[in-house]
């Protein structure tokens, strides 16, 4: 499954649009990480706990989106977008969406 954030895929032609597919997840770190992040705010620097959290969440959201595309019988997802939102304190929502399509390689 090809996942791109462009509208077209070089060397391929979009043959059919199957519709919007999406995946989301809301994750939180345990309270210890929140305290560590709070302390980090005093001295600055990367909040590794939260970096990890968002990386994990992003991967999961993409996986869920791909699972949905697979169900529709898609070969690729084009024009993928990500958004984040803070739904609850200390938690992050990752949301990925794109258009599931079928493609064929354009002749050599």
């Amino acid at each position: 499954m090809l996942v791109v954030n462009t509208e077209t895929i070089p060397g391929h032609e979009v043959t059919r649009v199957l519709g919007l597919v999406q995946g989301n997840t809301i994750r939180a770190k345990h309270v210890g990480r929140d305290i560590a992040a709070g302390l980090k705010n005093l001295v600055g620097g990367e909040l590794t706990g939260y970096t990890e959290l968002l990386t994990e969440a992003r991967r999961q959201a993409v996986e869920r989106m791909m699972a949905q595309a697979e169900q529709l019988g898609a070969d690729a997802i084009v024009n993928v977008r990500f958004t984040t939102s803070a739904v609850a304190a200390g938690a992050a929502e990752l949301y990925a969406y794109g258009t599931a399509v079928t493609i064929t390689p354009t002749g050599a």
Binding site: A28, N79, A91
Partner: protein
């Protein structure tokens, strides 16, 4: 005398808590299930309105009547799920309760957008975007999760 008064107040608070919790589980659960069911049926009814987030309109010669359509919803979760989310943020991990809230909100917004497109006589929606904002912080109360979701896109009419 003071002791028994305090105990009575405590008993009232505890019983209010359990009543709210019970309402959350029973009524909130029922309402969520019926919302999911209505989402399923309306999604099936609107299956003829194709939705995608491509910016370019495929074969634009046969498309007409382009216009912006949108759908918006503000939705809140129940007391029990708010509590579950607060507990989850202590131990970390995925917040399933909040997840279902966001999914319901997005599906509802998308359906309202499709309905808007249908009312305008269109049957394809391009370049769909989602915007979300948490309005729980505005009310100042912690725990009550409320989200606003807006979906918008460009609707076109395909064919005659």
């Amino acid at each position: 005398m003071g002791d028994s008064g305090d105990l009575a107040v405590l008993a009232i608070y505890v019983s209010i808590f359990f009543v709210l919790l019970f309402c959350g589980i029973v009524i909130g659960g029922l309402r969520e299930r019926s919302h999911m069911k209505s989402l399923d049926t309306r999604e099936n009814e609107l299956a003829d309105i194709t939705v995608c987030n491509l910016k370019t309109i495929l074969s634009p010669d046969s498309a007409s009547n382009a216009q912006m359509v949108m759908g918006q919803v503000v939705i809140a979760t129940d007391y029990f799920k708010s509590l579950a989310t607060a507990l989850r943020s202590l131990v970390g991990g995925e917040m399933r309760a909040a997840n279902s809230l966001m999914l319901r909100a997005r599906r509802e917004a998308l359906i309202r957008m499709q309905e808007h497109a249908k009312r305008r006589g269109c049957n394809e929606v391009y370049n769909v975007r989602f915007g979300a904002s948490a309005i729980s912080q505005m009310s100042g109360k912690k725990g009550a999760m409320q989200v606003e979701v807006l979906a918008w896109g460009t609707a076109v009419k395909r064919g005659a």
